[in-house]
C-alpha cells in the first residue's frame, strides 16, 4: 500500500489516538465541572436575582401566582421609595443609609489608624510575650456578638452611649482593630525591615523611616484590610439592633429588617433597599479585588 509522505507524517491519527482517551476524560470532567458549577451558581445567585427582580417589579407582579420570571413591567418606584418619603423629603431608610456610611466609615478609619501602627510594632519590635499578646488580641474575635451584646448594652446604658452613633463606632472599632492588627502584621512582615534600617542610617528617625519608606509599601495591604473592616461594619446587625433604636441613629441593616414584620410587607421596598445596601460592598470589593486576593494569600493566611 502506498502511503504518501503527507499522510505518513500527518499528525491527524496521532492526535486522534493517544490523547483522545485523555480528551474524553477531559471532556467528561469538563462537563461535570460545568454542571456542578451551574448548580452552585443557581443556588447561590437565585436569591440575589430574585431580590433584584423583585426590586423592579410592580407590586401586582410581586405577588402574582404563578411567579412571573420574565414578563413583568419594570418600575423604579421602589427605589424612589427607598430614598424619598411618601409625603416628600428624606425617607427614614435613606437616613439609615447615611448613618451606615458614617458609622462604617469612621470605625474603619479609626481601626486602620490604630491597627496599622500596632501591627508594625508587633512585626518590628521584640515585644514581651508577643505570641500570647497576639493570641489574646485575636481571641477577642472568638466571642459571638450575641454573647457580648448584653454586657455591652448594660455598660453603654451607664455611660449614655445607648442609641448613639458614637456607641456603634466604638464597638465596631473595637471589633476591627484586632482584625486589622492581624491582617496588617502579615503585610508588614513581608516588607523587609532593612528599608527602615537603611533609612535610619540615612538620618531619619524610626517613625520617619516607617512613614516615608514602609507605609507606602503597605498601602495595598491597608486598602484590603480596610475593605474587610468596612464590610464588617457595614453588614453588622446584632449590635446595631440592640444598641440603637431611633430612626436618626439606626444603621441600614436593622432599618431594612424593620421593614419586615408589619401586617403587610412591602417586598418591593425591602428588595430595593437590600439592593442599594449590597451595592457599595460589591463595588468596593470589585475595586480592590486584586488586593483582596493578595490580602488573603499574603497577609491573613501565610504565617
Amino acid at each position: 500500500m502506498a502511503v504518501s509522505v503527507d499522510e505518513a507524517v500527518s499528525t491527524g491519527p496521532v492526535r486522534d489516538h493517544t490523547p483522545s482517551a485523555r480528551r474524553f476524560g477531559g471532556r467528561g470532567r469538563f462537563v461535570l465541572e460545568v454542571a456542578l458549577l451551574t448548580v452552585l451558581a443557581v443556588v447561590m445567585l437565585f436569591p440575589v436575582l430574585w431580590m433584584i427582580e423583585t426590586s423592579i417589579k410592580e407590586n401586582r407582579d410581586v405577588y402574582a401566582i404563578p411567579a412571573k420570571f420574565f414578563d413583568f413591567k419594570v418600575t423604579m418606584d421602589h427605589f424612589k421609595d427607598v430614598f424619598v418619603a411618601s409625603g416628600g423629603g428624606r425617607s427614614t431608610l435613606s437616613v439609615s443609609f447615611l448613618n451606615s456610611v458614617v458609622v462604617a466609615g469612621v470605625s474603619t478609619a479609626l481601626a486602620t489608624v490604630l491597627g496599622v501602627p500596632a501591627a508594625w510594632a508587633y512585626s518590628r519590635f521584640a515585644v514581651k510575650a508577643k505570641k500570647d499578646q497576639l493570641f489574646f488580641i485575636l481571641s477577642t474575635r472568638f466571642m459571638p456578638p450575641v454573647v457580648v451584646v448584653i454586657p455591652i448594652f448594660l455598660m453603654y446604658r451607664q455611660v449614655g452611649l445607648i442609641d448613639t452613633q458614637l456607641g456603634l463606632i466604638l464597638i465596631y472599632t473595637a471589633f476591627n482593630v484586632p482584625f486589622t492588627i492581624w491582617m496588617m502584621k502579615g503585610f508588614v512582615d513581608e516588607v523587609p525591615a532593612e528599608y527602615e534600617d537603611a533609612a535610619m542610617l540615612d538620618g531619619y528617625t524610626r517613625l520617619q523611616a516607617f512613614w516615608r519608606f514602609t507605609l507606602p509599601l503597605l498601602l495595598p495591604g491597608i486598602a484590603a484590610t480596610a475593605v474587610f473592616a468596612l464590610i464588617f461594619s457595614w453588614n453588622e446587625f446584632v449590635f446595631a439592633t440592640f444598641l440603637t433604636s431611633s430612626d436618626n441613629v439606626r444603621t441600614a441593616p436593622p432599618a431594612i429588617a424593620g421593614l419586615i414584620g408589619g401586617t403587610t410587607v412591602d417586598w418591593g421596598l425591602v428588595a430595593a433597599a437590600s439592593v442599594v445596601f449590597a451595592l457599595p460592598v460589591l463595588v468596593f470589593a470589585y475595586l480592590v479585588r486584586k488586593h483582596l486576593v493578595a490580602g488573603v494569600t499574603l497577609g491573613a493566611v501565610r504565617r
Binding site: Y195, A198, D202
Partner: protein, 358 residues
C-alpha cells in the same frame, strides 16, 4: 575624626549566640576588615555598631564617646547593607540622594553629589531605574553610592563587592582603596573573601562563631596565625595540617615521617602537635634535608601555578609548584619543607606554639 571601638559585644538570637564578646578597636582613618565565614557574626557586628541591633551586653564607642544607646541617625555612620536594602519605590537617583535629603541639602547640592558618585561607580546610565530593574551588581554599586555620597564619621560595608563579576570586583577593590585614601575616612569592611581582606585592609579581625580569633595586619594574620583555625581559614590553597609530636631534636609525624625540630619551638616532648605547612613554603622540585616523602595524589593547574596534592600517609599536603610540573598519580615524591616558615599548633587547644604567633 572617626574612631570606632566596640567592647565585649554579646548578642544572641534565641539559642544562637551570634556575638560572644566581640572587642574591636578601629583607629581613625583605617581600612578595618572583619573577615569570617558565613554565620560568623560579621553582619551582626556591623549592625551593632550602626545601632540597629539591641545588644545583650557590650558597648559601642564612637570618637571615644559612649554611643551604645544612641539612635542610628545620631551616630553619623553610613552603611552598605549585605542585601543592599535599596528603597524599591525610589529610583537609583533618589536612593543615592536619600541621605542628603534626610539632611535637607539643597537640590543643586544633591544633584552634584549624586552625579559625582554615579560617575565614580559607573552607574550614570542607571540613575532613573528602580532597584527591580537593576542587576545584583548594579544594585550593589547604587548601595555603595548611597553610602559614599555623604561624609559620615565612618563607613560600614557589609560584603559590598560579593555580587560583582570578577573583573568589576577587582576594579572596585582598587577604587574603594583609592576612595579610602583620598577621603582619609574610617572604613569597617566586612567580607568572607580573604583575598579582599588581605589586599585592602590596614587591619584584619578574623571572626568565627561570634568570637574574634585574631586582630592584626594582613601580614600578621597570614604569617603568624594565632591558632589553627585562622591558619586554615586564611590562605589559598589552605594550609596543610599534619599531626605530630616532638621527640628530642626531631618532629615525628603520626604518619611515621620525621623532620628536624624547628629551632624556634619550645613545645615539650610527647605533646600532640599540628604542623602547619603553607603550599608556598613547600617544594617538590629540589630535595632538601628537611623533607617528607609521599605519593603524588593529584595536580590542580591554576594557570600561573600548579598545586600538587601529595599524599603523606593518609593526609594530603598541598604544594605550590611551577605550572610546568608534571607527574603521574601514585608516583613517589619528596616534599621539601622550609621549616623556618612552618607553624606549630597545640592539637588540643589549637593555639599557635610559634612564639611570634602568640
Amino acid at each position: 575624626m572617626g574612631t570606632v571601638a566596640v567592647h565585649g559585644l554579646c548578642k544572641s538570637f534565641g539559642k544562637v549566640q551570634a556575638l560572644d564578646g566581640v572587642t574591636l578597636d578601629v583607629p581613625d582613618g583605617s581600612f578595618f576588615v572583619v573577615l569570617g565565614p558565613s554565620g560568623a557574626g560579621k553582619t551582626t557586628t556591623l549592625r551593632a555598631i550602626a545601632g540597629l541591633e539591641k545588644l545583650d551586653a557590650g558597648s559601642v564607642h564612637l570618637d571615644g564617646r559612649d554611643a551604645t544607646g544612641d539612635a542610628p541617625a545620631a551616630r553619623d555612620l553610613a552603611m552598605v547593607f549585605q542585601n543592599y536594602a535599596l528603597y524599591p519605590r525610589h529610583t537609583a537617583y533618589e536612593n543615592i540622594a536619600s541621605p542628603l535629603r534626610a539632611r535637607r541639602c539643597s537640590s543643586s547640592e544633591i544633584a552634584a553629589a549624586v552625579e559625582q558618585m554615579s560617575s565614580l561607580l559607573h552607574i550614570e546610565r542607571l540613575l532613573q531605574r528602580r532597584p527591580a530593574q537593576l542587576s545584583g551588581g548594579e544594585m550593589q554599586r547604587v548601595a555603595l553610592a548611597r553610602a559614599l555620597v555623604r561624609r559620615p564619621r565612618a563607613f560600614l560595608m557589609d560584603e559590598p563587592l560579593t555580587n560583582l563579576d570578577l573583573k568589576l570586583r577587582v576594579e572596585m577593590r582598587t577604587e574603594l582603596t583609592r576612595i579610602h585614601r583620598s577621603l582619609g575616612a574610617t572604613f569597617v569592611y566586612v567580607t568572607n573573601d580573604q583575598v579582599e581582606a588581605l589586599s585592602m585592609a590596614d587591619q584584619v579581625a578574623v571572626l568565627k562563631e561570634g568570637k574574634v580569633q585574631q586582630v592584626g595586619t594582613p601580614t600578621e594574620v597570614y604569617e603568624r596565625p594565632a591558632n589553627q583555625w585562622v591558619a586554615g581559614f586564611v590562605g589559598s590553597p589552605p594550609i596543610s595540617l599534619l599531626a605530630c609530636h616532638a621527640e628530642g631534636d626531631r618532629l615525628v609525624g603520626a604518619e611515621g615521617w620525621t623532620l628536624p625540630r624547628p629551632s624556634w619551638t619550645t613545645a615539650e616532648d610527647g605533646r600532640t602537635l599540628l604542623l602547619g605547612l603553607r603550599a608556598e613554603d613547600l617544594s617538590v622540585e629540589q630535595r632538601g634535608d628537611a623533607s617528607l616523602s609521599g605519593k603524588l595524589y593529584g595536580l590542580e593547574p591554576l594557570g600561573d601555578r600548579t598545586v600538587v596534592d601529595v599524599r603523606v600517609g593518609t593526609e594530603i599536603v598541598k604544594v605550590k609548584a611551577r605550572p610546568t610540573v608534571t607527574g603521574t598519580p601514585g608516583e613517589r615524591l619528596h616534599v621539601t619543607v622550609d621549616l623556618d616558615r612552618a607553624h606549630l599548633f597545640d592539637a588540643g587547644t589549637g593555639l599557635s606554639l610559634s612564639e611570634a604567633g602568640q
